[in-house]
């Protein structure tokens, strides 16, 4: 299974400020009622983006200037809470291709990587600089280079890092591990045979 080598992501960015933005906020539980992930993008950040009557609330993702943004900027502990893959799926289906934040919750980070959506950590000051540039010019190109772990925008450049195992998987096109895991099936069976509780 040949996967895309994700080395560079460039596009417009949108800043959704705040710390501890949890998975229920990214996609409320009532939108998990589905047997496929199709169409989840519509419900991204639903309750903070829409009123009960469906009309839009002020939110960066509703701002016409940021429509079509592919890079999301946020605060600390992004994606905390549930293991629901619906959260990164909703982001991706909405068109987000990478997230830059001060930090990520563990399960969200892993789920995103497995979908080929890099999550990079940057300092608050640097995120603020990118956000300021985007605010000044929403069409400014923000470019993430996973090789150098740097983000370029409006003639500036800041560092943004991610765990080496995730970076390696993305740039080498092995972010979906299923192929490798299947290759290890024989060895897995051997390990299982040594564990009494796993006996048939």
């Amino acid at each position: 299974m040949a996967l895309e080598k994700i080395t560079r992501i460039a596009g417009r960015a949108v800043h959704v400020p705040g710390n501890d933005i949890d998975t229920d906020r990214i996609i409320p539980a009532r939108y998990l009622k589905c047997v496929t992930f199709d169409g989840l993008g519509e419900f991204l950040f639903h309750d903070v983006r829409r009123n009960a009557d469906g009309s839009e609330k002020p939110h960066p993702l509703n701002d016409a200037r940021h429509k079509g943004a592919t890079i999301l900027l946020s605060g600390a502990n992004f994606g905390c809470g549930s293991s629901r893959e619906h959260a990164p799926q909703a982001l991706q289906k909405h068109g987000i291709r990478a997230v830059i934040a001060e930090g990520f919750a563990e399960i969200f980070f892993g789920n995103s990587t497995t979908l080929g959506m890099p999550c990079l950590c940057a300092s608050r000051a640097d995120i603020a600089r990118i956000a300021a540039a985007v605010e000044a010019d929403p069409d400014a190109e923000v470019a993430i280079d996973l090789a150098s772990q740097r983000v370029s925008f409006a003639g500036q450049s800041v560092g943004a890092s991610l765990r080496e195992s995730a970076r390696d998987a993305l740039v080498n096109g092995r972010w979906d591990p299923i192929g490798e895991l299947l290759e290890g099936a024989g060895e897995a069976a051997t390990v299982a045979s040594r564990l009494r509780y796993m006996a048939v």
């Binding site: 229920d24 409320p28 047997v35 502990n77 293991s83 399960i107 892993g110 195992s165 564990l195």
Partner: protein, 472 residues
């Protein structure tokens, strides 16, 4: 060299190193439910893959199952479709399914231990972040996403990076009226909601030595709320006594051999930890949240934080955001805050001892007028035991609605939801914005006994005063 339980279990299940440096880890037990697995089965079918070890895969329905309707078709057509999809997949791949008709259905993290499937020294994965619950037995248990569920179904393995281990020791004695729920809320408030990132938590100390399995489960359950992907307690006599005689527990000579293995798997004396935190049990109070994440909590005797007194801009912003959502007044006592709903249940506090303990105190009391109180046993098994002991009747007589098993108002995927900005005193695990089903609904997390105190007084109350608690 002395090793931690985490290291021993990891090493025993490590299959090989992957190209990116992660480990291909064998998953001994895979638990699945109706909400996060249908897409995984879809991916399997698309790729033409089969289930590698159906005999190590167990399914039940909990997230979306209605608790006020027991016969199908369910009123919610999507719930009906999701449950039928799981039933079909289990039949197709030969997976044991604790369906409602078996009498063994319930919240996946309650069913696993109840059936004796959750055992020490094992690795467990489930598409739910509260899988850490199973760590109470000395298992390493991870919440995973749907693509990983596919990986586990297809290969019984997953790709994972090794975690560091933080030992959290709680020594001394808990004060009367202080419960396991207060211990974990206190730990999260102390270490922060992301304090555990990169760690597995090993809970230890005199308090955990004395805790029952159900109390240990309550603490391990909320590890993820502190950012830790897994949490565990070393197995001991309490663990073995709980497991003995359960349907999936070993028997006869196999039992003796298993207990011998389980003794070996506990952390060795003198092993090295990446971090150690010590907490004085006597410093823990009945704890309630006031904000929109589980780390925003205070003792019941405390006042709601005032953003003007915050230690910096960050804290000020987060307090302001939380109080604006919660509609609470800065600086005011949390005690006395009016509630609309009381919810007792969930994988955190939906076990027999939770209902037993509350029943002791609400017998002869009445839920306050205007409060909707619902009690939801975590499994059909818990519901049955409560019925045998007459506990369901005590709850009904007190004015609680007594429901059938499921996740219910913890995440409100079924019909059990807050309405508008109702405030709920809840024994569940998350107080996120909108968590309990209404985009403006408000949640205050607390122990079951505190939920009962709130239910009978109609406001957030100190259960020690309401029930005259002098000893646990």
């Amino acid at each position: 060299m002395p090793k931690t339980l985490f290291e021993k279990v990891w090493d025993a299940h490590a299959v090989r190193s992957l190209a990116n440096g992660q480990t291909q880890l064998l998953v001994g037990t895979h638990l699945i439910h109706e909400v996060t697995s249908p897409q995984a089965f879809g991916m399997m079918r698309d790729l033409g893959l089969g289930v590698a070890m159906p005999h190590r895969t167990f399914a039940t329905v909990d997230h979306i199952v209605p608790t006020d309707q027991v016969s199908e078709p369910y009123a919610d057509p999507m719930a009906d479709a999701m449950i039928k999809a799981l039933r079909r997949s289990c039949a197709e791949f030969g997976i044991v399914f604790f369906d409602r008709s078996t009498g063994k259905q319930g919240i996946v993290h309650i069913v696993g231990p109840e059936q004796g499937i959750t055992q020490p020294g094992t690795t467990i994965a489930c598409g739910d972040s509260h899988t850490s619950t199973h760590g109470a037995f000395g298992a390493i248990a991870f919440g995973i996403g749907t693509t990983q569920i596919r990986d586990v179904l297809a290969t019984q393995t997953m790709a994972l990076g090794r975690l560091k281990v933080r030992r959290i020791e709680v020594n001394g004695r808990l004060r009367p009226g202080v419960y396991a729920k207060d211990v974990i809320l206190h730990i999260i408030c102390t270490l922060g909601v992301n304090g555990g990132t990169g760690y597995a938590y090993e809970y230890a100390g005199e308090v955990f030595d004395r805790f029952s399995m159900e109390e240990r489960m309550t603490v391990c359950n909320m590890s993820i709320e502190g950012g830790a992907r897994a949490g565990y307690v070393n197995p001991d006599e309490t663990t073995y006594a709980y497991l003995k005689g359960r349907p999936y527990s070993p028997t006869g000579a196999e039992w003796d051999a298993a207990v011998a293995r389980w003794r070996e798997v506990a952390s060795d004396p003198g092993c090295a930890y990446d971090d150690v935190v010590r907490i004085d049990a006597a410093a823990i109070a009945p704890t309630v949240t006031w904000g929109i994440n589980p780390g925003q909590g205070i003792p019941i005797t405390g006042n709601i934080p005032d953003p003007a007194k915050a230690r910096g801009a960050d804290e000020r912003t987060s307090i302001e955001e939380a109080l604006a959502y919660m509609k609470l007044k800065p600086g005011a006592p949390i005690k006395g805050t009016r509630i609309d709903v009381a919810f007792l249940g969930s994988c955190t506090n939906g076990r027999l001892s939770d209902f037993q303990e509350v029943a002791r105190f609400i017998k002869g009391r009445r839920v306050a007028p205007g409060v909707k109180a619902i009690a939801v046993p975590g499994s059909q098994g818990v519901g049955l035991l409560c019925a045998e002991l007459g506990i369901d009747k005590i709850f009904r007589d007190a004015g609680f609605e007594w429901r059938s098993a499921g996740c219910s108002m913890c995440l409100a995927m079924n019909a059990d939801k807050l309405v508008g900005d109702q405030l709920c005193a809840s024994s569940s695990n998350r107080n996120f914005k909108g968590r309990q089903g209404s985009p403006t609904g408000r949640t205050i997390l607390m122990s079951p006994i505190m939920v009962a105190a709130a239910a009978v007084t109609g406001s957030v109350a100190d259960a020690r005063e309401v029930f005259g608690v002098s000893a646990n």
